[in-house]
Amino acid sequence: MAAGESANAKTMTIIVTKGTLDWAYPPFILATTAAAMGVDVTMFFTFYGLPLLLKKLDLQVTPLGNPAMKMPMMGMHMAMPNLVGVLPGVTGAATTMMKNLIAKKGVASIEDLREAAIESEVKMIACQMTMDLFEYKLEDMIEGPTLGGAATYMENALKSDINLYI
């Protein structure tokens, strides 16, 4: 049963507020999996989550201020001291390391998960206020998302079984 096939389908909304390489995963994994399980999903992209709708993604991850980020290395787990994390090039290196791990472990790319979400008819709303605030243009975004604001989100959330904020 695909999302939308049944009038009795469960519904879920996700507010997507973060756009780093690591935090882009939970909303897209849950949205695609829920859709595969017959759930009607609406994603609302706001603030730093909005750039996840850009045609060309350039997601990065930083160990700065995140002591929980420990990369597996030679059988150990290595954390990066904040003092090192501030150096130029460290964000790029951490991003490359994470992308290599993602590919090596058979984890989907965000591009693939986003494509799967669109294919399974996950509804996407781009926050109009964030578009204005950070000066994004609709033509820079992928096809599919509609524009909306808090009231558009609330209308969906009020009749939804699950509402998540990520």
Partner: protein, 75 residues
């Protein structure tokens, strides 16, 4: 009817489920899909997926490092 096989070995969560759903969609009701996976999380996930979607998980077994699921499309 020939059994359909989905090789999801080497793929991590949620790809085995997403690919299985896609494959099931193209099958007629009553047809079966065999899924091969190496993700240990897929054992619990295919049970949950089938319970929620109403498809039948006819088999769930392990051959070495490969998990082997047989799903009958009933919904």
């Amino acid at each position: 009817m020939a059994e359909h096989v989905l090789d999801a070995k080497g793929l991590n969560c949620p790809l085995p489920i997403l690919k299985a759903k896609k494959a099931l969609k193209d099958l007629p009701a009553g047809a079966t899909l065999r899924v091969l996976a190496t993700d240990p999380g897929s054992v619990a996930d295919f049970q949950a997926f089938c319970r929620t979607t109403g498809n039948d998980l006819l088999e769930s077994k392990q051959d070495g490092e490969t998990y082997n699921f047989l799903i009958k499309r009933s919904a």
